[in-house]
């Protein structure tokens, strides 16, 4: 299959939508200037203000549980009807033993359920969503829960340390008729592009510096977005909101302009300046922030990016069910405004960077 060929978008047999959604962002914030202070870097080019940091008793499991509970509170369904609990992350607490079984148990989805962890760098969460769309869309399940959540790690002193943050979101996929936003269509684009990776057993990831830009982030996002819009006969102006994976402030703004979106369309879902890059949760918390404020019958384009590399693009349309449901659980900004600033030493302790043995 060549690049230019017309590609059908992913479209399930029965229409699927988001029945409930939930964000989670931990309360601690590490300002970028604090990282710069420690590593004697200048503060002129800092791409974000501050990033969200998980507390000592938090990890991808606990954060996923809270986001999942928020999604369930909004959906107001019996959790035993959830037939899949899928958690995408690159910081699962266990190397072997699923995050998803603990989450499923905590929300009452066990035992009649699928449970699995997904891994594809920063698009593990949207990958789980794609699978959930297929699971519900094929009628194998009435409800499937997809979560993207991370407590991202950056090597001390590495540029990643300014942005690698903690947070994410959960989406309960179900029949379109009872959804607060319907999935109009989706598309995935993947190639072998090693822009960023972490070898097994290693604590911190490696990245290809400038190689992470053009051939990686920009190529995959633009390809995914353009293919989806073309196949759906849509153009950027048809969408009220667009959300891209946001590793820094610059990339999503630039890719938006490349595709023909305005800053206004990007604005609501651009959280990276105030929470950092939450990896597998990055584009997904952008989506929760949009759903927190969007009007019914608005169109939203979501394009994730995962290193290694690939992008999932989804087109959503909100429904009249959205306004009443979003007030049933804490909103994205309820978490963002709950903020306790920490210094680098506290951050180092919270992230296990102080060796206790």
């Amino acid at each position: 299959m060549t690049e230019n060929q017309d590609v059908p978008i992913l479209k399930p047999i029965r229409d699927v939508g988001i029945v409930g959604y939930g964000a989670y962002i931990p309360r601690y914030r590490l300002p970028a200037r604090e990282v710069a202070r420690v590593w004697k870097a200048g503060t002129g080019g800092l791409s974000i203000e501050e990033k969200a940091v998980a507390g000592l008793d938090e990890d991808v499991i606990t954060m996923s549980i809270e986001a999942a509970r928020n999604a369930l509170d909004r959906a107001d369904i019996d959790p035993s009807e959830i037939r899949a609990v899928w958690v995408g992350s690159e910081s699962h607490p266990y190397a072997v033993k699923p995050t998803s079984t603990v989450v499923a148990e905590s929300i009452g989805a066990t035992p009649h359920t699928q449970a699995a962890d997904w891994e594809f760098a920063c698009k593990a969460g949207t990958e789980a969503m794609q699978a959930a769309i297929g699971f519900v869309g094929s009628d194998m399940a009435h409800f499937a829960l997809a979560i993207g959540m991370d407590t991202a790690q950056g090597r001390p002193g590495d540029p990643l340390e300014y942005t690698a943050a903690a947070g994410g979101a959960a989406f309960l996929l179900g029949p379109a008729e009872i959804s607060l936003a319907v999935i109009e269509g989706s598309y995935s684009y993947a190639t072998d592009t090693p822009d960023f990776f972490r070898r097994a057993e290693e604590k911190y990831p490696e990245h290809g510096e400038r190689f992470t830009g053009e051939p990686a982030y920009f190529k995959h996002i633009t390809s995914a977005a353009e293919t989806l819009m073309q196949a759906m006969d849509s153009s950027p102006s048809d969408f009220q909101h667009v959300i891209f994976h946001q590793p820094n402030t610059k990339f999503p703004k630039r890719v938006g302009r490349l595709l023909g979106f305005t800053d206004e369309q990007i604005k609501t879902g651009l959280l990276v300046p105030i929470i950092g890059n939450v990896y597998a949760g990055s584009s997904l918390v952008g989506l929760t922030a949009v759903l927190d404020v969007a009007e019914p019958d608005e169109r939203i384009l979501l394009v994730s990016y995962g290193s290694g590399a690939g992008s999932d693009a989804m087109s959503l349309r909100t429904t009249t069910l959205l306004p009443e449901r979003r007030d049933r659980a804490p909103k994205t900004y309820d978490y963002i405004s709950r903020r306790t600033e920490i210094d680098y030493a506290t951050y180092a302790r919270y992230h296990g960077k102080i060796t206790m043995k």
């Binding site: 931990p26 309360r27 507390g55 000592l56 008793d57 938090e58 990890d59 499991i61 606990t62 549980i65 809270e66 607490p93 266990y94 603990v102 148990e105 905590s106 929300i107 009452g108 804490p330 309820d334 978490y335 709950r338 306790t340 206790m356 043995k357």
Partner: protein, 135 residues
Amino acid sequence: MEISRHWRLKRQRYALIGEVCPHCQKKIFPPRDICPECSEDARTLYQFSGRGEVYSYTTVYQAPSGYEANAPYTVALVKLVEGPMLTAQLTDLGDEPIEVGMPVEMVTRKLRSDGERGMLVYGYKFRPRLIEASE
């Protein structure tokens, strides 16, 4: 390494699932199978809301082994809105002062790590309510 005892308690630990006495309707947490009120069998599962208030609280500085990495931490007696009281840590306190009577809500967090190689134990903790009016 302890595994089975934590596994056995996962429902109550992760999600505050207790019991309700079918005879006198008393809500029971932690679950104990014999109603402490009327001494009848009580094994009907009951999902607690997770909302309560601080009955008392203090800080642990000298932590038992297995808990040192989190010290100092705050522990409390929390009175659930359904009636029972339980012991739990308070978390995500930030700079907010704690007070007796403060409304709190349940979150599931890491309680302890059984060494570097052992299992992670998850369970209930409480935090100041995220949204004031979430009653």
